[in-house]
Symmetry: C2
Subunit: 416 residues, 2 copies
């Protein structure tokens, strides 16, 4: 994308003025990092998007209240993996607060300046003593070089840390946008067990930042699904510390390129999550076109993306595309079956070109596609599906992965 420069080993600390630290509190085995601190040298404008699950973990409740109270005066995030602090009642709420206080004390910050993120097993109380001691240690080694390490600290079933950053030249000057995320299984629209943190050194007001985060999340983190479940802890936070002294405002020319940079970082993180889906062997992009509205297009794409039967067929490389139309029909959206057109395409791989678009269904019925050609598409490591509803001009894209036997193996014994 013109104007964007992707930084090598970029992360949430790539924007000026952010420091990080990750340590092992002993929540994970083998001395792996499991507690992290991210802190800005100066106050940030902050915004967040939270799970739509009615059962909300203590950190979600804590952060949402804090963002309402003082969205323009926050300093950073303290985070832990392995225990979600969800379904933990009053005691859990106090633990989330104590975790924030411990970070603020260790960093010599005023009270109510640190946000909290937790991920892991639901229904287990936070081992607060261990986390508090870890936070004290972490505070002693704050450094911009540790950005990638906190992305590693919040991993659960993720197989690799997810972080990146881009530098972007706006009309007002150069700003940097960084991000990290944790995902793997349980990922679904409305942010199931997904934690994401975006940072920037641009000067942004709270109100446009809030709008931006919601808009960007809808087209990235909310457009991916791995297993259709939504979680108690899902959170995407964004912090803007203004350290670049470059102002971006919706009424200034630089806004568009800034929003594109944030969208790029969020979408790349979301795609990293899908590609790292538990047991995933195949990456799938689903384009829904010809819809009455964009939300309807996205909902329909998600319904296909979370269908167990579609996902197991994908795991088997089986061009059982009838299941795709059936999943569309079950989405609770008033589609007209006779107007549906369905195509599939093998996506471009490293070096190789993309395949032709293969017509699978026309007017809601089988198009008698060549079986060998269809199988070649469905056995590719990356596939695109395009479903046109013939009902309007709106469209949306969602991303998912297949459902393999390995997914079941991983999730059958997650706690042990």
């Amino acid at each position: 994308m013109p104007g964007h420069e992707r930084l090598p080993d970029g992360s949430v600390t790539s924007p000026t003025g952010f420091n990080a630290s990750a340590v092992a509190a002993g929540l994970k085995d083998g001395g792996q990092p499991d507690v992290g601190l991210l802190v800005s040298a100066t106050s940030c404008a902050a915004a967040g998007v939270f799970t739509q699950n009615r059962v909300r973990a203590a950190p979600v409740l804590y952060d949402e209240a804090l963002l309402k109270e003082r969205p323009g005066r926050l300093r950073g995030v303290v985070m832990n993996a392995r225990v979600a602090n969800a379904c933990t009642g009053e005691r859990g709420l106090k633990a989330a607060e104590a975790m924030a206080r411990a970070a603020e004390a260790a960093l010599e910050l005023p009270a109510r300046t640190m946000l909290v993120l937790s991920t892991g097993v639901i229904g287990v109380q936070l081992p607060l003593d261990r986390i508090e001691r870890a936070v004290q240690r972490a505070a002693k080694s704050m450094n911009p070089a540790h950005g990638p390490e906190i992305a590693r600290a919040i991993m659960t079933t993720d197989t690799k840390p997810k972080h990146l950053a881009v530098k972007v030249e706006t009309t007002g000057g150069v700003v940097t946008v960084g991000g990290m995320a944790k995902g793997a299984g349980m990922i679904h629209p409305n942010l199931a067990t997904l934690l994401g943190v975006l940072t920037t050194d641009a000067v942004v007001e709270v109100a446009p930042l809030s709008d931006l985060v919601r808009r960007v999340a809808d087209r990235s983190f909310n457009a991916i699904t791995i297993d259709g479940d939504t979680s108690t802890n899902d959170t995407v936070l964004m912090l803007a510390n203004g350290a670049s002294e470059v102002e971006v405002r919706r009424d200034l020319e630089g806004w568009k390129v800034f929003e594109e940079a944030v969208a790029l970082v969020a979408r790349e993180l979301a795609l990293m999550i899908v590609k790292d889906g538990e047991g995933a062997t195949r990456f799938v992009e689903i384009q829904v076109t010809g819809a009455p509205t964009e939300p309807m297009a996205r909902d329909l794409g998600r319904a296909i993306a979370r269908s167990t039967l579609v996902k197991t067929a994908l795991a088997g490389g089986d061009p059982n595309w009838g299941r795709i139309l059936a999943a569309a029909g079950a989405a609770g959206i008033p589609i007209v079956p006779e107007r549906m057109q369905l195509w599939a395409q093998r996506r471009a791989e490293a070096g190789g070109p993309a395949g032709e678009w293969l017509v699978l269904a026309q007017d809601g019925a089988v198009a008698d596609a060549d079986e060998d050609a269809a199988r070649a598409v469905f056995t590719a490591p990356a596939i695109a599906l395009r479903l046109d509803l013939g009902m309007g001009g709106a469209e949306a894209t969602v991303w998912t992965c297949d459902l393999s036997e390995a997914y079941v193996r991983i999730n059958a014994h997650y706690r042990s």
Copy 2:
């Protein structure tokens, strides 16, 4: 149940006046039966419940129109496995009609007296020639003894045929209710790839029969889920031929015991389907109590029953009950998390007693249940969960099974 007598090897032909026949049309491998005929010696009152998927297979469209046209003058059902005749367009609709005509001609019945059921792969045209020839052969060996065989003919990934019948003494005299079903994977509320046929020799009017079938389906076939997908072909049909000359009417005393008999047959068939879920290793009953309304209780139970994360934890025998509350929170129902209570119980097995109810969560938070006791419940072959919402007096029960690696294996290569 008093007044009900379960008949040995009972089936749709147990009620007086029903005959059946099953033959191999070569749709399945190895000469297995795949086409069946069920016919009453006299005209039937008939009713049906159909899939709520917007994409509806040709037989669904055909039957629904026929039931509207002449619900009191139908004679039977012609059915096939292996090809669903779904997403097959105009040609598929003509094929469904031709299949019915072939059956009517072979049985020397008037036109538009036979209903049609198909199940199998979506998006493949019906091999009509083979089905027509099979129907002609089948019509030559109609016999009440062949009831269990048509239950076998419509099996797809089912591992065993599902059929039963009960005799029931109403105040007006003795009537018989029979049934058959096919299910296995893809079973979900609103009847995903579920075919069910109920028969009776009672004299029943069309209107109360329609109401009865809907009510009964809601508490049986619509209360089970295997993988959360809904299909293009789901259908439950009921035929009442009046051959017993015993009238059942809603205003007569015998109605209640008759409805109970139909409900018993439907529920037993539904439970057979869950227990035969693809790759299922564990049977789970979910009771939702304290709900504002029965539909809300059922929807919430279904949301838990179809959660991939709950089902994989069940496969692993992992008492990861936090996922159960998270699934309840994601159901789209305005629950109050702090009012939720959750219990689990090992169900009674052949000979053995049921276990104690173990408290897992109180007021929406972890109840610190003994880990060994919890593991003992969750590793049992049959488990009951009870979730009280603390919001009202309505309740519902749903049934499901776990999601095992074998499920994925079966569904990854269904077409091949």
